[in-house]
């Protein structure tokens, strides 16, 4: 043989575009010119010439290919149509499996795309950062996005290199009054003028420069303006916030998109914030709130690291020395805000892990559906061998056959795809409602989905079509017409098929186990003993900070018949209202330890059923009593180094700067969601200015039933809300409210409902994951069912002969089942370690978690094998019971 000197890419190109007969000569022709050019112009120019020639040749060759395909296309279409009709079960399984898989993929893609699109609409997206801080006290790392109020000005004065700095403050739920009509408004944002320079908003009325010029100007979103003022012009209207602050509407902006980390309905000037309104000092470095954030805008391509030394300098200038090596400022990119729940966010956060889980499930579903297709089509190979042989005899090239089979896959995929798009569009509404993240996803509204859709489409065609077309087109005519095909090519295809079945089954195992683990963990969350009463407690936020007035309000509630007890406190046992500080033990040199102050009155322990393990709870506060008394939790006792709770009673600790005696120890309860560990708590009745909530323990008339059930879990007892006692109590509270706080509209919250909402987002996400997982397993089952029916058909003759020779029906079932069971067991052994690795990793992200246990793996295995047995036995019993005469005569 002569060695060809043609570069590889040219060979690939030529044989890719032309039939083998043509490419033989073409190859030689090109080589001749190439060699000639190489001699006269040098190798570089020759290559250059060749590449240009190849590129110029693409259009005519492609057009030529298409023209040729069209003439054969009608024939292919006819054959594909006949195949679909002839093998109804097979086609049904393929199209259903593929389309369910595609629906899942499309929905997952849309969901992930939405989550990844957060904040991208700001043109400065890449250059906006939030100033956050990390602290490390004795190894306990805390993340804080709350900015002290002087921070923004300090940054403006001391930090060159920042293009812009803005300070924002979110108000908690508060009353907004318009023309004597009161609204409870959630997202009220205070921001200074640079806010509008850093972030992008579209103004409908008013303009950026003048809109926030006065301290009394307010900007509304379109929807809010409509809600308050209807269709009349809102300009110049007066807005009263919390009955204290007066604003004049100066502008309307278009509603910010749903996928923003900074949602708001009303925008107010930052300078109008008063200490009275928010209850925080505005000039102190050691006071911060997670509602107060500072954002900075950097010039493009600035290295964030450059700012570390400057932050260090600033820290030394403004913070006391003891914090210098404990607290660190950092810049958090806006692009990370939605995906990091360590730092407080104003809308739910979703971790990248969760997004990856979704992507992985989407991919797994697509692969499983693809594997189904590959398995079923190669299993069919025997049936189509004759067709392939006939085509080859009549002069078909292998390339044409490959094209034909890929074309067939394309037809299946196209059908499945059309079905999938239809289904996805129908389902997406439910998914929206279910997720309730404010997104209104729709295929029609998102043209950007076309590209990934095309990608998924082409990927699934290639994934599913490539291998079968190679296998099917490989038959040589002579062999195809002889009977030998059954043995030879059949087994070869089958071994890979076995591999794919094992793979598919292993993926299903991983998915089933993950579902078990996830739901066990979620159940654990919902049912875990929290350590306090949560049912039949109604909480009301106090609108004013006047202690005596609030006290008489609380006392007036106590006199109502259904009410058992009333307590005033900073918040409920699990609540957003926090006062973080640190404590030390006098005389003992331990690092100061973070602690939360729970300001509460003497009824708190009774209302929430807190259990005392030592000492007693707080007494009634007496005016003029200056001695500080603490009630602490077990966690504090341990951290402070006491041996047991009894020892601690009578000892002194310094909380912040206040020294006081420990008079009692309560059993640990969960002050946060179960993601976080229980931290040290201190109860005191000294800080009455913090009393912001009145909680009412009442009798709904169903108490006896409740205490028996899971009364301590997060699962709310909705039936309670409907009893007449509940309604009466609520009405009575509202009546009292109107008496004491006539200027404010009444709002209340059931404590259990609040607790449920802590896990709402997660609960929903995991339910969706569960549904997708089930679908994936279902698609896998479909494929298995189809594959088994083919195997049985293939073995029809064998079964018949065995029966004639005296085999029992049982042994025949066993023969068919054995192979699949073996595959199933191998798949379990492969899938379990993978599932163990991933789920173990996932559970680490929870402070309180279930342990992985053997039953999850075992039952997943049993479920899997049961599915195999079920689908196999159905077919194999049919085969085993059939009359041997029929089966031997088969073919």
């Amino acid at each position: 043989m002569f060695k060809s000197n043609l570069p590889w890419y040219a060979r690939l190109f030529v044989s890719g575009f032309t039939e083998s007969y043509d490419s033989y000569f073409l190859w030689g022709d090109i080589e001749e010119i190439f060699e000639h050019k190489k001699e006269s112009n040098g190798i570089l120019k020759a290559h250059l010439w060749l590449i240009i020639q190849l590129i110029k040749s693409i259009p005519p060759l492609i057009i030529d290919n298409i023209l040729w395909s069209i003439s054969m296309f009608r024939n292919y279409l006819k054959v594909a149509y006949r195949n679909i009709i002839r093998n109804k079960v097979y086609s049904f399984i393929n199209i259903t499996g593929l389309s369910i898989g595609l629906v899942c993929c499309i929905l997952i893609y849309m969901f992930v795309d939405y989550e990844l699109s957060f904040d991208k609409h700001h043109s400065n997206y890449d250059n906006i950062y939030r100033v956050v801080s990390q602290s490390n006290y004795g190894g306990e790392i805390a993340y804080d996005a709350g900015a002290p109020f002087p921070l923004a000005n300090a940054l403006r004065n001391d930090m060159p290199g920042l293009k812009s700095v803005t300070h924002i403050y979110y108000l908690d739920e508060i009353q907004a009054k318009v023309n004597n009509e009161a609204f409870i408004e959630k997202n009220i944002l205070f921001a200074d003028t640079s806010f509008l320079k850093i972030f992008d908003y579209e103004f409908l009325i008013g303009n950026k420069a003048s809109i926030m010029s006065k301290n009394s100007s307010a900007v509304l979103t379109e929807t809010t303006a409509k809600k308050y003022f209807g269709n009349k012009s809102p300009l110049g209207e007066i807005l009263l916030i919390d009955n204290q602050l007066k604003y004049e509407v100066t502008g309307i902006i278009k509603d910010p998109p749903q996928n923003t980390s900074l949602p708001f309905n009303i925008l107010l000037p930052f300078n109008s914030i008063t200490e009275e309104l928010i209850g925080l000092d505005l000039d102190r470095w050691n006071v911060s709130s997670s509602n107060s954030n500072v954002f900075v805008l950097l010039a493009g391509h600035t290295k964030v690291d450059l700012f570390s030394p400057k932050f260090e300098e600033m820290k030394r200038k403004y913070l006391p020395e003891k914090k210098w090596d404990k607290e660190f400022f950092e810049l958090q990119p806006l692009s990370a805000m939605h995906y990091n729940s360590n730092y407080h966010t104003f809308i739910y956060a979703i971790s990248m892990e969760t997004i990856y889980i979704f992507l992985a499930i989407g991919l797994a579903i697509l692969v499983i559906a693809g594997v189904n297709y590959v398995n079923l089509s190669t299993a069919q190979a025997v049936k189509r061998a004759k067709e392939v042989g006939m085509r080859k005899v009549l002069g078909a090239y292998r390339k044409q056959l490959i094209k034909q089979f890929i074309g067939e896959t394309t037809i299946y995929t196209t059908l499945a795809f059309l079905l999938a798009i239809l289904l996805a569009e129908l389902c997406v509404g439910y998914v929206n409602d279910f997720l309730d993240n404010g997104a209104s996803l729709s295929l029609l509204n998102s043209p950007s989905i076309i590209l990934p859709l095309m990608f998924i489409y082409i990927a699934s065609i290639l994934l599913a079509g490539f291998y079968p077309s190679i296998v099917l087109s490989a038959f040589t005519p002579a062999k195809a017409f002889k009977k030998g095909i059954n043995k030879k090519t059949g087994t070869k295809g089958f071994s890979l098929r076995n591999g794919l079945v094992v793979f598919q089954f292993a993926v299903s195992q991983v998915l089933i186990i993950s579902t078990f683990v996830v739901s066990t963990q979620m159940d654990y969350f919902k049912n875990k003993e929290l350590g306090f009463r949560k049912n039949e407690v109604i909480s009301v936020s106090l609108p004013e900070r006047d202690y005596n007035k609030n006290l008489s309000f609380a006392n007036s509630l106590k006199s109502m018949p259904s009410v058992e007890n009333v307590t005033m406190a900073l918040g409920t046992p699990t609540s957003d209202n926090l006062v973080d500080t640190r404590f030390t033990r006098p005389g003992i040199t331990i690092d100061s330890i973070p602690v939360q102050i729970k300001a509460a009155d003497e009824n708190y322990a009774d209302v929430f059923d807190l259990k005392l393990v030592a000492g007693r709870f707080l007494n009634k506060h007496v005016e003029g009593d200056t001695l500080k008394k603490w009630v602490v939790n077990e966690s504090l006792i341990r951290k402070a180094g006491f041996d047991n709770p009894q020892d601690a009673v009578g000892e002194y600790i310094d909380v912040s700067r206040h020294r006081g005696e420990i008079i009692g120890v309560v059993k640990d309860f969960h002050p946060f969601s179960l993601h976080e560990e229980i931290m040290p708590l201190v109860f005191t009745n000294k800080f009455q200015r913090f009393f912001a909530t009145v909680s009412v323990k009442y009798n709904s008339g169903r108490t006896n039933n409740l205490n028996k059930g899971k009364s301590d879990s997060f699962q709310p007892e909705y039936s309670v809300y409907n009893t007449s006692a509940t309604k009466q109590t609520l009405d009575a509270i509202e009546a009292k409210w109107k008496e004491f706080f006539p200027a404010y509209s009444f709002s209340h919250e059931f404590f259990d409902e609040y607790l449920r909402r802590l896990y709402e987002t997660e609960d929903r996400l995991f339910t969706i994951i569960k549904v997708f997982t089930l679908l994936a397993v279902f698609i896998g089952c479909l494929g298995l069912l189809g594959l088994i029916s083919f195997t049985v058909v293939q073995k029809t003759k064998e079964i018949g002969i065995r029966k004639v020779l005296g085999a029992s029906s049982g042994s025949i079932v066993l023969i068919i089942t054995r192979e699949f069971l073996r595959n199933g067991v191998i798949a379990c052994l492969l899938g379990w370690p993978i599932a163990f690795y991933f789920m173990n990793d996932w559970l680490q992200s929870f402070a309180y978690r279930v342990e992985l246990s053997w039953w999850m793996f075992l039952s997943a295995g049993i479920i899997g094998l049961a599915i195999i047995l079920f689908s196999v036995s159905f077919q194999s019993i049919k085969a085993a019971l059939s009359n041997p005469i029929n089966s031997i005569r088969y073919e």
């Binding site: 043989m1 000569f25 022709d29």
Partner: protein, 104 residues
Amino acid sequence: MKILTRLEEFVLLSILNLRDNAYLVTIQKYLEENTNNNLSFGTLHVLLKRLEQAELLVHFIGEATSKRGGRAIKYYKLSRQGIEALRDIQSVSESMWANFSNLT
């Protein structure tokens, strides 16, 4: 009678002129030298294929040589219909051009 395109006409004429040495490389070169038409081999390949399908051309295979990676050459020759087609074209253009010098 189907009228050939200019390019097809040129290709057929090149093959005629090249006599026994008409294959893709020489045709490409001939066209470039005489009509200044720099065709890529892909275009030319498809063109030749079409003309052969229209039975205006026939091909014959040459001997394999040590050049060209040992591959034989596919030579082209005009068929009877090919020559007919050229004649038709010639007569059509002659009648169309007949009065050219009188009118200008």
